[in-house]
Symmetry: C2
């Protein structure tokens, strides 16, 4: 069985075919969040702290850390990202005990994050591009960590799923040349918007199954991309995630502070026999009840977590 | 490609791997509905009329008709069901143009329904039990209609999916002996409650895939059984249906007058490339909006249907 092991200083998270779906919280990322970028430039980390705590309360098993700001005072990310990555990683691992995902296109920022991250973080990401392979794989080997492999290469993103499969296979083979095992590669088969490409959903479901059956790798994706440009995106996402899970997808990089998507994942875990005795579902159902009574989802999730988590809740129910 | 063709007097519905998921409305069934049973005994068909119209407005492509009452005045279903089945079939096909599914465990009621149903109704059901095979298959051949094949036999319902697959295979082979082709068999692999059997979901997903790949048959199920006994059943159903669809399930016998489940199916159709240009999803998103503004789901669905259906809605959007 393919098991990708992630660790913080005190906690282990396993991505695997028989594990609960691994939710990687995407919120700590200033890309497209001007207010957050300005706060970070001013040395204000309050939003990062809030995002870390809230995502974990809502059910993120791993937190993605992206420090990709473009400061007004210094537009060179090679200079600004590494120290900011270091600072955020240290801050977040002082606040929560979930493993981290070090996310950057700047190799210096990846290494800065790896230097300070405790345990065994995930790295996001390598691609099939020659330059990225040669820059990132040695870091993965040096720090003995798992990595997200995105299936595009120097020719771009192919619309042909067979080409994307071939790129993933190439990355797994190149990683093996560096002594990196396949179970430390988490392939992102690339999710296209179904509004732009009608076959986008089917493509991903078939690719995930093939990646699992033929390469034996875990998989991840930027889940919300599937619904880009369409109305009621959460409804589409909430069907996409269970369908991807039934096809063998084992993790996603996503916003966990959304009840609809998290409910779909909790139900899918139950249906994949990854929720022993239904304890997680029964605990989550109390969060749904609290939201129906007027609480916000993060507040309801936080209250459930503070009450001993969903499993604790189940034990109380039995007593 | 496996295509199961259902017809009313004026409308064709195809169940198939590349078709939108076929929702078979389950509401017209007095089993467990004491009030409806009493109304039918008193000759009051107003609830049947309401259920027929409401289910079609909400998105049912086929209506199941079950006349399984036990009258206070006559407890013998062999006497009461056939005339009641005839009456309800005639009533419903006068009201709506969807194909019907003639549902009874009383052979005389199946034949009564088949005699009066126009077009090509589905029959629900045959099992692997010898007596049922010998009673039902000749009717299927005589009327040249498709049939739901439930994968239990004289030994009961096996918890082993391999046994359930073998029962389905036996029914397909026996049907072939009668000259009934596999594309007229819609297999129900039997959905167990996941609260009682933790593997119930995975079992169904694997069975559906195998039934499709190895027997080439369409499939159906009583979808809501999956969540029996658990809290927030609609959340579980709304994940189960997309997962079953991604695994190859092509229809379900279910209550279509539930927004959560119907939204999951509409999104799954979009993601399976069975919703050209997203027209159905965009139309349904207006139903979601109307419900958010205070309408009931049936009223919002009815209004959308009266406005020319969801595709009509999309055309307006373009204009």
């Amino acid at each position: 069985m393919t098991r990708t092991i992630l660790e913080s200083a005190s906690k282990t998270v396993t991505i695997g075919f028989d594990e609960p779906f691994c939710v990687i919280g995407e919120r700590i990322n200033p890309t497209g969040r001007k207010k957050l970028a300005a706060e970070l430039e001013a040395g204000d980390f309050s939003t990062v702290e809030k995002d870390a705590l809230e995502q974990v309360a809502c059910g993120a098993a791993v937190l993605d850390i992206n420090a990709g700001v473009v400061y007004n005072s210094n537009p060179n990310p090679n200079e600004t990202e590494p120290p900011l990555m270091r600072r955020i990683v240290e801050l977040v691992q002082g606040l929560v005990d979930t493993p981290l995902c070090i996310d950057s296109s700047v190799p210096g920022a990846l290494e800065a994050g790896l230097e300070v991250a405790k345990g065994r973080p995930l790295v996001n990401s390598v691609t099939g591009e020659e330059e990225r392979l040669e820059l990132v794989l040695p870091l993965i080997k040096k720090y003995n960590v798992p990595v997200v492999a995105i299936s595009n290469d120097d020719t771009g993103i192919s619309e042909d799923p067979e080409v994307r499969f071939a790129v993933a296979k190439k990355i797994v083979e190149r990683a093996a040349d560096f002594g990196i095992p396949a179970h430390d590669i988490v392939v992102d088969p690339l999710v296209m918007p179904v509004g732009a490409m009608a076959t986008a959903g089917r493509q991903v479901f078939e690719l995930v199954r093939k990646l699992r059956d033929e390469l034996g790798v875990n998989t991840t994706c930027g889940a919300s991309n599937i619904s880009f440009g369409l109305p009621h995106r959460h409804g589409i996402n909430a069907a996409f995630l269970p369908m991807a899970i039934a096809s063998g997808m084992t993790s996603a990089i996503m916003n966990p502070v959304r009840q609809v998507e998290m409910e779909a994942i909790k139900a899918a875990n139950l249906l994949m026999n990854a929720d022993p005795n239904g304890g997680e579902w029964i605990g989550f159902s109390r969060v749904i009840d609290a939201v129906a009574e007027g609480a916000t989802f993060p507040d309801a999730a936080r209250a459930a977590a503070a009450a001993g988590g969903t499993r604790g809740g189940r034990r109380r129910r039995r007593g």
